[in-house]
């Protein structure tokens, strides 16, 4: 019988010095994976560091999502029954090709074999599996199954958002022994990359709330990691002071040290000081969140943000360094509004990234649309499946049209045309907008953004 426990209970009652704990960051079964370069189990790194330092038990990490030499996570088409996932009916129907992102279970099995023959310590006594998104439960179930087949009598613990947000589902269907439904080890801590052993990841994720961020960066640089990504909700909080402190205290540590603001960068929070900071070459990427309140885009925030960046000396039309997110798939979407936002963001930052939406279980939006969402299969709540398509009366095909549009717009728009869009609503809206802008359009190749 699977039991629900808290983090505190897990660490105080279910683990001892004699344990050998294997931490797993599982693969992902999904149709599209936006963060192929930016997946790192910060929670496992935090918990692993804590276990080593405090409990003093054996700890190892196997990260299915560790990028390859090119900095990308491995990708393989799923087969058989899993090959496609059909979502929706009628005009809303769409067949999504499904992929495994991350290493295969064969790779994991081989790693266990090599570990077993090389290691003088025994087999793991516990396997702790984390999860980033609740709708990725299928790959977590398969990970549990793979662990059970290879390590029969091991105790399996599920961590992360899946057991937290879908505890009943996890208890009934995961096959784990324990699921952790509450608490975090150290929400303000930074994990140690030493858990990766000799195979270091290409970047380290940072928690700006932590007091140890600077030392975490120093340690990572010593270990050969020079790229750092922020995943906070708001990296510009407190007028950007925490961020500025980290950047200044790490200046000169390494000539190739780079920061990547992949989330949590709010245009409305930008200050002249932060703009100067971002203009420095130590910031390689800046992805601005959508600035909106009550469903209305705050265009003034965009204008102001662009102005500050230009004044700070940045070439904002660059497109490689700056971009802005635009939500799609939220309840209440209209295609016209999405296209309009795209142009605002494009005009402000030079490039746009469409960010598909799904409500977090337990959030206000989730509760507001509870009845509608309950009729949807849990794994179809993936944002890439556009759970609100029927609600918004926008077909999934039309949502995918937007990706093509974004790909097109991210090229140099002037002097290109877009006859390929085949008369869909998105295409018509785009043409109308572009006509109003009176751009001169010629032939152009295509590419999908994501």
């Amino acid at each position: 019988m699977t039991k629900a426990i808290t983090t505190r209970s897990l660490l105080e009652k279910h683990v001892s010095k004699r344990d050998r704990i294997l931490l797993l960051n599982p693969p992902v079964f999904e149709t599209r994976y936006s963060w192929r370069r930016w997946n790192q189990p910060l929670d496992l790194l935090q918990i692993g560091s804590h276990l080593k330092a405090t409990v003093k038990c054996g700890v190892e990490l196997f990260d299915f999502m560790l990028p390859d030499g090119k900095g990308l996570v491995e990708k393989q088409a799923l087969t058989g029954t899993n090959k496609h996932r059909c979502v929706g009916d009628g005009s809303f129907a769409y067949s999504y090709p499904m992929w495994r992102f991350g290493k295969s279970f064969s790779d994991f099995e081989q790693w266990l074999v090599v570990r077993q023959s090389a290691s003088k310590t025994g087999r793991p006594t516990q396997v702790w599996i984390t999860s980033l998104c609740s709708y990725w439960f299928r790959s977590i179930h398969h990970t549990c199954n793979s662990v059970r087949n290879r390590l029969h009598d091991v105790q399996i613990v599920l961590l992360g958002n899946y057991p937290r947000m879908m505890p009943d589902h996890a208890i009934e269907l995961s096959g784990a022994d324990f699921i952790v439904t509450k608490g975090m080890v150290n929400p303000e801590g930074n994990g140690s990359l030493a858990l990766y052993g000799a195979e270091r990841p290409p970047f380290a994720s940072l928690n700006l709330r932590s007091q140890t961020t600077v030392s975490a960066i120093q340690r990572a640089v010593e270990e050969g990691v020079h790229h750092f990504a922020f995943f906070d909700d708001d990296i510009c909080r407190d007028n950007g002071e925490p961020l500025r402190e980290v950047v200044e205290k790490t200046k000169g540590l390494h000539p190739h040290l780079r920061f990547h603001a992949v989330s949590g960068l709010l245009p409305e929070r930008l200050t002249p000081q932060l703009a100067s900071l971002f203009a420095d070459r130590s910031f390689a990427e800046l992805h601005f969140e959508e600035a909106s309140a009550g469903g209305i885009l705050e265009e003034e925030s965009y204008r102001r943000a662009r102005s500050l960046l230009v004044e700070a000396g940045m070439n904002v039309g660059d497109g490689d360094k700056t971009s802005g997110f635009v939500w799609i798939g939220r309840p209440g979407d209209t295609l016209e509004e999405i296209v309009r936002r795209c142009f605002v963001v494009l005009g402000s930052f030079g490039s746009l990234i469409l960010k598909p939406f799904t409500p977090v279980p337990g959030s206000d939006i989730f509760k507001q649309h509870d009845k509608y969402l309950k009729a949807i299969q849990p794994e179809d709540l993936s944002p890439h499946m556009f759970p609100f398509a029927e609600h918004n009366n926008i077909t999934r095909e039309e949502y995918h049209d937007l990706y093509r549009m974004a790909a097109f717009l991210n090229e140099k728009v002037r002097n290109r045309s877009f006859d390929f869009l085949n008369g869909s609503m998105g295409a018509r809206l785009l043409r109308n907008s572009l006509r109003r802008e009176a751009w001169n359009l010629e032939a152009s190749p295509l590419s999908i953004v994501d």
Binding site: T79, G80, H141, H142, R148
Partner: protein, 657 residues
Amino acid sequence: MQGMSVGGVDPSILRELSGVYKPFIKAFKELVSNSYDADASEVSIEFRDDFSVATVTDDGSGMSPFEFRNEFTRIGGSSRKWSREKTRKGRERIGNKGIGFLALARYADRMVVESSRPHEFQTVHRIQKTPTAFDPREALGVPISPELLQPVFEFDVRKAGTNTKVRKSCIKIDWTRPKVSISDGVGAVDVEMRVDCRKLAFRATLDFDRLLKLADNADLEKLSDFTLIEVFALPRKSSRGTRISVEQLKPFVKRELRAERRKGFVRNVASRSGLEQLVWHLSRCTPIDYQKGLEACEAIASLLKDASPPTLDALQLKHGKSSETLRRPLYPFQSEAAVTHRDMVTPVEINDGGLVAKGFIAGYESVVFPAEYRGVSIRVRGVAIGDPTFLGAEFLLTGAHKAALSQITGEINVLRGLDAVDSLNPGRESFYEESVDFQILKRAFRGEGERVGGYLGKTIDAVLRRSQARSSLQNALGRAGYIRRAIDDVSAGVTHLMSSGGAPAAAIRGMLKSKISHTNGLASAKEAPFGVPPKIGSMSVQRSQRMPNAAEIDYESGIVKIDTSRPEWDNHIVLFKRRFDVIHKQGSASQSIAEVDFKDNRILVNWGHPARSQMDERGFLRTALAWVLARQAAEGDADRMMEIAITLLSFTTQPND
């Protein structure tokens, strides 16, 4: 320079004899052989940058102008004298057929020979009738100035065939002409001439271009300028030895030497640059030490230790700025060679009827590269005779036995025998079949009749034994892996059904709560042969744990160790959280395809079921497991059973299925 008559042989024969040495390297190596025979310690070969000239310099005993005339350029002249004679250093002479100087005639326009030797040259010249007068230089056969000859020349005249000297008063020598006069009419006389060569050196030029342009019926005696020679006083501080320059190498030779290494992945010597090929072949057919690495391969090293004749101390090759000391390459000592296993090395030791030979033949687990190493190199007097060979065994073998030849290499050094004139062809490229020594060698090497035995047969057997053992092991491991994959597929299929929720998940969950045995006779059927086999090939199997590799074969003790802690030997299946043993049974055709025992957590699979003949092992196991689980979970609902079974059967964990 003056002309010097050579040989007295028809030029067309000279032309034919020069064709004995093909290709260029076979001819060129004769120069090194000559240096070896001259007891040289160090030989240096230098190619001009454009490969137009090759110069070979040695520190051997050298030769006097008379030795050059009488031995170096004499057709057949050395064979009787040298065939069984050793050098002063005790080396068995390599060159004994007396045509070595012609070797390079086809490959260059000219050869220049410079040398000297501090010895006393003696010759006896019989004159049939006296009184008479003669030029001593004609008798000596070498054009040498009177001023140079006079201080070093001595002679006695005796009545022919006796020790009775002719009176000195009737012997006069006029150095102005020069002429020796014998005024007494004493019948035939023997003139014994002695020349002190300590202070004489010479430079001779052989014009090959002229030689080969001659018409067939030209008289060689008329070609006094085919070889031009200059004899001079040896400079005071000059070193001993011989220097031979082969000049104006033919365009095709230069082209070959300049050829570049083939682009891309290169394994064979024939794909290397022209110069690299020359170095390799020269290293294989000259008497030099083995390359370093002798110590690294003990099995071979010990067999070669007492099996090598004396060698040159150093053979250096220079071209442009590069310089290399040549060592004899041997496949087992190459860095890229496969591992040499003791059980695949056949020592060769022959001592029969005057033939003494030692060496080895080694088989390998993979094909030998470079391909030029395949076969057994037979060396006589330290020099390889022809290319590596199987002495015709390749024409008797077929199939796997023949294929095994590509994995065999070796070296046999003939220490005594096989060096007679009737054993080796003039170019020392092959043996004469009728040679008794060769027949002994062949018999020991490959046995008699149409079946290949002997040392080669033993090596082939060793190669095939390994190949069969490895193949059997791979089959066993592959089969186990296949069975495991089938189990994993069904296990993952159950997980997939559970994840999907709904009625099938509920059905599976209900089934897994059961504690009832549903077996019906299969339990008493005999076990089907799965799992770790007791033997692989003819070798016993030993179980082990935590090995670095899935299995290891110990050929010497005949044991195969298998790491049974690996997943492929695990016959359990996990269904959700419950673990079952998968037991393979050889039931009858009328029994069910599989049965489940929820009481003792076993799933019995009937390999005697007729469905087995319709599919491979993996497909059958998946079918059996899927069927029995679907049947149990569906509890009589046919549609549910089909739904579950189809999902389980179509689920696979491998992307390439």
